[in-house]
């Protein structure tokens, strides 16, 4: 679907006309990310991050396919095969560092993309399905990233796999059986490494498929915008191409710049030194930590230290999975019809607290478990759940939103007349 004023694809070239009759792929592209897709004219740079996530996935798939040509998924030689990629394969160091840091860049832009969604209410009607598919993509990414981190078969790979698959043993009665079935053994070994490699290769393509659904679902209502006000007419939109292709190119440039600085000048900044030590089931590292992007969830897991009806470990595992699964219910937890936090003063404050809270959780997840660190983690975890499950539904009912602008164009023109978006809304 599209707005009635969307441009139509009219191939002039005979070859393109012929192709359009037989297999209208150019028409599909034209309507999806070309001039045939009208987009609100007032998007800010936070709307670049979907495209950046797509770029990051493409980089991961391309570098990953080439790395897989040189990698050997066998516990005896995996670590050494990574070293031979680093030393003997042409530009192997580049491919491997691009892939390892590319994962961090992918998660980084996806976190900003999700944050954009939380701030501007992108999960609300009529875009619930876009959000739900987004959470599915996020879960797939987490699984892929985890299994990818196991492949180098270093100490953190091995012990990370040991800890994460250990979650399943928290399930009462059948937990241990499930864990052994998933690993194909009593501890991570060849069987686990091999299946992780297989799934690590598969899941990115599943992710790509869900991304197509994500974009399809987005194109039914069309993109949201920073005011959260619906598109009212043609003056509110511009064609995706060339307007947003040009703007996305700027964002892509900045993304690649940050990526290049990381890759070429500090490629091991985000990794853990222990992963340059080959996996050794007989020697546990002093301090097992996941990659930075899992630290907040790891902190939630570790914060549950008290048994209450259920054992503490099971509470921790339930809470950790729950902390992501609750995002599926977000569209119905937040009943406020106002999308943009710019017009929701109370929600905006709680969202800022949530952002700080996530940084605290991230710190706690990576820090040594001193008592005050655990304490901080417990308070921060409690806020995380309270925010989504208790505060958000109440705020949605009680807060008094600021008046919305009548249309996107009105907000844009008011901004250019020297008034801020909030003032303009009040002035109208």
């Amino acid at each position: 679907m599209s707005f009635p004023w969307a441009k139509h694809y009219e191939p002039k070239q005979p070859l393109m006309r012929w192709l359009d009759e037989k297999l209208p792929v150019p028409r599909l592209v034209y309507n999806a990310v070309g001039a045939g897709y009208p987009v609100p004219r007032n998007l800010n740079y936070f709307w670049n991050f979907g495209v950046l996530a797509g770029a990051a996935l493409s980089i991961q798939i391309i570098t990953g396919i080439v790395l897989a040509m040189h990698y050997a998924a066998n516990g005896g030689v995996a670590f050494g095969s990574i070293e031979s990629i680093m030393r003997d394969v042409n530009a192997g160091w580049f491919l491997r560092y691009a892939h390892a840091n590319g994962a961090s860049m992918f998660l980084l832009v996806v976190y900003i993309h999700i944050g954009r969604g939380l701030y501007y209410g992108s999960y609300k009607a009529p875009r619930e399905m876009v959000w739900l598919l987004g959470v599915v993509i996020f879960l797939l990414m987490m699984a892929t990233a985890f299994m990818g981190y196991v492949l180098p078969w270093g100490q953190m790979s091995f012990w990370g796999a040991q800890v994460i698959t250990g979650f399943f043993s928290a399930i009462p009665v059948v937990g241990e059986t499930i864990r052994i079935w998933l690993l194909g053994g009593f501890a991570p070994d060849n069987a686990a490494l091999n299946r992780f490699f297989s799934l690590h290769y598969l899941l990115p393509f599943v992710t790509a498929g869900v991304i197509i659904l994500h974009i399809w679902a987005l194109h039914i209502p069309g993109s949201g915008n920073p005011t959260g006000v619906d598109v009212k007419g043609e003056q509110d939109t511009v064609p995706f191409h060339p307007y947003y292709t040009a703007k996305d190119a700027v964002g892509l440039g900045v993304f690649l710049l940050v990526f290049a600085l990381l890759l070429f000048f500090s490629p091991n900044l985000l990794g853990h030194p222990d992963n340059y030590v080959e996996a050794n089931p007989l020697s546990t590292p002093a301090h097992i930590v996941p990659e930075w992007y899992f630290l907040p969830f790891y902190a939630i897991l570790k914060s549950f230290t008290a048994d209450f009806i259920l054992p503490a470990k099971l509470w921790g595992v339930l809470a950790m999975f729950g902390s992501i699964l609750l995002l599926f219910f977000l569209p119905w937890l937040d009943s406020s019809p106002i999308r943009s936090a710019n017009f929701r003063p109370a929600y905006r404050k709680f969202l800022l607290i949530l952002l700080l809270d996530l940084f605290v959780l991230g710190y706690v997840g990576g820090a040594e478990p001193r008592p005050w660190v655990i304490l901080m983690g417990q308070i921060a975890s409690a806020y995380y759940f309270a925010h989504f499950l208790i505060i958000l539904p109440i705020v949605a009912r009680t807060e008094r939103p600021r008046p919305l602008p009548n249309s996107i164009t009105e907000a844009v023109l008011a901004k250019h007349a020297g008034l801020g978006p909030h003032k303009s809304a009040m002035a109208s």
């Binding site: 030194p273 340059y276 008592p371 409690a382 499950l389």
Partner: protein
């Protein structure tokens, strides 16, 4: 209904966290975590100031060669370097003939089989060989080293936090007498026999005896004075190279990539301004 269930689930998690928090606090009060010697006496690594540091850092080939000499004469008695080949030495400035000579003259020979009888034997190294391990296997290594296993050094500069500086500090400045203050505060933390106090080692007691004991232990062919500090620096430079042999290529490629991307950003920004010039947004 969703909101009701959610608030109940939220309340349950918050309640259990409250219980856990209470437990943490009461445990903290009744049972404060003990101070530990390593927490108080472990020191942050000194800066080795290697020329390979920094955005455009490059190896000082003479220094890396000196470090190789220290490795050859000191470290290689116990430590393997299994991911590095003799041919790789070409990268640090040795000629083909020199590499051949180094490989051929290496004290430990390459494991092989006798071509006629098929029995296990050894043969001289050739440039395409990896550096052979000084011990036949882990059991032999432990048996010769008071049950400690000397780790492979190929990746050591990346396998420890702040690796290059760590290596420099550990072998160059780490071995000191155990401070009297430490023994006064933690009488149980006396370095056990067979271990050695080292203020840069994570738990302060390392199995490795001091490898660099006196100035002039190695006679550098380039005339550099071989102080302990100098040898530690040089071996740290060598191990930085073994861990990251493509560091220079990476820095050069990064420099070019950043310039290329900056030009791309500049053009993209210009295109963006041009496309949007008539649309207020």
């Amino acid at each position: 209904m969703v909101r009701l269930i959610a608030s109940l689930v939220g309340a349950a998690f918050v309640f259990v966290l409250g219980l856990a928090l209470f437990g943490t606090v009461s445990d903290w009060i009744t049972n404060p975590p003990p101070e530990s010697a390593e927490h108080e006496f472990h020191r942050e690594a000194l800066d080795a100031g290697l020329p390979s540091n920094g955005v455009l850092g490059r190896f000082d080939r003479r220094q890396v060669q000196r470090g190789f000499q220290v490795f050859q004469e000191v470290c290689s008695a116990c430590h393997s370097l299994k991911y590095v080949s003799f041919r790789d030495l070409r990268q640090i400035g040795y000629s083909e003939a020199e590499v051949k000579a180094i490989a051929k003259g290496w004290k430990i020979e390459q494991p092989s089989i006798n071509a006629e009888t098929g029995e296990a034997s050894t043969r001289p190294n050739v440039p395409s060989d990896r550096f052979p391990s000084p011990f036949a296997n882990e059991v032999a290594a432990r048996a010769a080293n008071n049950n400690a296993l000397p780790p492979d050094l190929s990746l050591m500069a990346k396998a420890r936090h702040n690796g290059a500086n760590y290596i420099y500090s550990l072998v160059g400045h780490g071995y000191v007498n155990q401070p009297a203050e430490l023994l006064r505060k933690f009488p149980g933390a006396k370095t056990p026999t067979g271990l050695h106090y080292n203020q840069y080692f994570a738990n302060l007691n390392i199995a490795m005896p001091p490898p660099l004991t006196q100035d002039g232990q190695v006679t550098y062919s380039d005339g550099t004075r071989a102080s302990v500090d100098q040898m530690a620096k040089d071996v740290s430079a060598f191990l930085t190279w073994t861990a990251e042999p493509n560091l220079e290529a990476r820095h050069s490629a990064g420099f070019a990539a950043v310039i290329f991307i900056l030009i791309f950003c500049f053009l993209a920004w210009g295109a963006y301004q041009n496309v949007w010039r008539d649309v207020k947004h």
